[in-house]
Symmetry: C2
Subunit: 315 residues, 2 copies
C-alpha cells in the first residue's frame, strides 16, 4: 500500500465516486473580476452533497473498502462537515457509520449527522477523550477509521474537485485553495500539478490559524496552538500525509486577516448570490488583501463549502 | 400595435435579448423535495444580470426601439431592480437611461443605478412627484418611457424565463411565480399556457400586499392600499395589461403569511446555498403554508431575484 496518493489514485477515485457526488458548477462574476482585476473561476463545492467538498473524500474512503471491511462500518471523530459526509456516504453503501462527537457539539450538528443515518457516540470535549472514545468504538465494532484529512483515500477523493474544474474550464495559470488540515489542498496540488505542470498552486490560510503557513516555511510540522478564526473549517493542524504532499507540490502559503475573510465572504454573497461558509472566502480574501496577485492570470478557486449558522452572521 | 403580447412576441424577445441575458441555471434540491413531498425545479433568476429577472424585460424594451427612438434614450421611475436593469440595458445599447428616484432612496440603490451608467433625477417621495418629474424628463429629452411591468415589451421579455425553464427541464404539471405588478406572472402565463396547455399556472402573493389576489377574485383591479411585506419587490399594484393577461390565463392566486415567506427564504438559503430576496421565497412559502399542493406534480418555480441588504436579515 502506497503512503501517498498520486494522480492515478485521483482518477480511480473519480470513477468510483462519480455516481454519488455532484459534478458541481463553475461560476464566474464580472463584478468580482472587475474589483480584483482578475479572471477568476469558482468551483462551487458549496453545492456538493452535505454542502461541502468533504463528501468527495468520505465517499471515496467508503466505496474503496472491501466487502468484508465495509460490513464492519466506518468510524471517525469529527463534529463538522466530515462527520456528515461520512454518515451519508456510509448510508449510500448501506453500512454503519460511527461518529464520535464532543457532548458540547451544537444540536444542529448532531441532528445533521443523525439525519444522514450516522450513529453518534458522545464524549468529553477534549482531544484525548475523542481519541480514546473512538478507540473504544473501533475495538467494539472493528470499523475502519476514516481520518478527515490524513487519509490516502480522502486525499485522493478531494483531488477530484480540481480535476473537474480543470476539465470543465482549464487550463489555469494559478489555482488557490483554503488550507486547514490539508486534505483539500493536498488532493488539489496532486491533480493540478499533474494536469497542468506549469500552473502555480497557492494556499490561503487565516492568520489566526496559521500552522500550515508556519509549517510550510519551517519545513516541519508546527501544530496549531489556540487557533482563532471565523473560518471554523480551518482550525485543524496539518496532517502527516498532507504536509508531505504540500511541501513537495505547493508553491506558496499566505495568510489572511479576519477582516478580509469577512469582506470576501460578503462580496461573494452579494455579487454572486451564493452562500459560502467563511472558510471558502479565504482565497478571495487573500486576493483582496494583496497577498496573491491575479492580474492577467486565469485563476481557479475552490469554494470549499456552504454550511454555517445563518443566525450568526458577521455582517 | 397590439396591446397584449402573445407567444410569438416572447419568441421574438428571446432571439433579441439572448446575446445580452444569462440563460440562468435550473436547480433542484433533494431535501426541499423531501420536506415538501414535491418535485420542484427552481429557475434561478437571482443569477440573472443585475440580480433579477427584470433585466429580461428591460433589455427587450431597449433593444426593440428603432434607431431613431433609441438615440433619445429611455426613462422610468423606479428605485428597485427595474431601474438598475434599464440602466444596464441602455448602456449595452449605448443610449441614455433617465431614472427618476425618490430623494429618500437608499444610497446603495442610487449607487447601483449610477454604477450601470443611469442618469438619476431625484424627486419628492410621492407617486405624484415621481410622475410629474418623469414627465418633465420626457418633455426635455423625448426619451421612451419603459414602465416596470405594464409594458408590452417588458411582459414579453419576462416570459423568456419560463420559456427557458420549459425548454431545459419541461414539461411541468404546475408553474408558480410571485406576483407584484404582474410583469413576471403575465409573461410566464403566456409562455407556459402556449407551450404546455394543460400546465396549471398559480401565483403566490404576500398576504400583506394582496391586491392581485383581491383583484383576480373580484374580476376588476383593486389598487393596493398601504401594502406591507418583507417581500419589497411585490408592493406594487397590478397593471392594466397584466390584469388582462392574468385574468385570462392564470389558474389561481394565493396569499402567503410573512412567517412562511421568511421560513421559505431561510430554507432556500440553507438547503440550496443560494441567496434569494424575500419576493423569490413567496412561491415556496405558499407550498409550506399548504396553499398550493405539489405532491406528485412536477413543478417549476421562478426565483425572481437575489438583491437584498445583507445587513438587515429577518433571521
Amino acid at each position: 500500500m502506497k503512503f501517498l496518493p498520486d494522480y492515478e489514485d485521483i482518477e480511480r477515485a473519480h470513477s468510483l465516486i462519480a455516481p454519488f457526488v455532484h459534478r458541481t458548477p463553475v461560476m464566474t462574476s464580472i463584478s468580482v473580476n472587475t474589483i480584483t482585476a482578475g479572471n477568476l473561476y469558482f468551483k462551487c463545492e458549496n453545492f456538493q452533497k452535505v454542502g461541502a467538498f468533504k463528501f468527495r473524500g468520505a465517499s471515496n474512503a467508503v466505496f474503496s473498502l472491501s466487502e468484508e471491511e465495509a460490513q464492519k462500518g466506518v468510524a471517525t471523530h469529527s463534529s463538522g462537515n466530515h462527520a456528515a459526509a461520512l454518515a451519508l456516504a456510509a448510508r449510500m453503501r448501506g453500512i454503519p457509520a460511527h461518529i464520535v462527537m464532543p457532548s458540547t457539539s451544537p444540536e444542529i450538528k448532531k441532528r445533521a449527522v443523525e439525519g444522514y443515518g450516522g450513529m453518534i457516540t458522545l464524549c468529553e470535549p477534549t482531544l484525548q477523550a475523542r481519541e480514546s472514545t473512538l478507540n473504544e468504538v473501533v475495538q467494539k465494532t472493528s470499523a475502519t477509521v476514516v481520518h478527515p484529512y490524513d487519509n490516502f483515500f480522502v486525499i485522493a477523493g478531494q483531488g477530484t474537485a480540481v480535476k473537474e474544474l480543470i476539465e470543465d474550464r482549464g487550463p489555469f495559470d494559478l489555482i488557490i485553495a483554503p488550507i486547514g488540515g490539508g486534505g483539500l489542498l493536498s488532493g488539489t496540488a496532486i491533480a493540478a500539478k499533474y494536469l497542468l505542470p506549469s500552473c502555480r498552486v497557492i494556499a490561503a490560510e487565516p492568520a489566526g490559524a496559521d500552522d500550515a503557513y508556519r509549517s510550510f516555511h519551517a519545513h516541519r510540522i508546527i501544530p496549531s496552538e489556540n487557533p482563532k478564526t471565523i473560518a471554523d473549517g480551518l482550525l485543524t493542524s496539518l496532517g502527516q500525509r498532507n504536509f508531505a504532499i504540500i511541501s513537495g507540490l505547493v508553491d506558496d502559503i499566505v495568510t489572511v486577516s479576519e477582516e478580509k475573510i469577512i469582506e470576501a465572504m460578503r462580496m461573494i454573497w452579494e455579487r454572486m448570490k451564493i452562500i459560502i461558509e467563511p472558510s471558502s472566502a479565504v482565497p478571495l480574501g487573500a486576493i483582496l488583501e494583496g497577498k496573491i496577485r491575479v492580474e492577467g492570470l486565469k485563476t481557479g478557486i475552490i469554494l470549499s463549502g456552504g454550511n454555517l449558522d445563518l443566525g450568526k452572521l458577521p455582517f
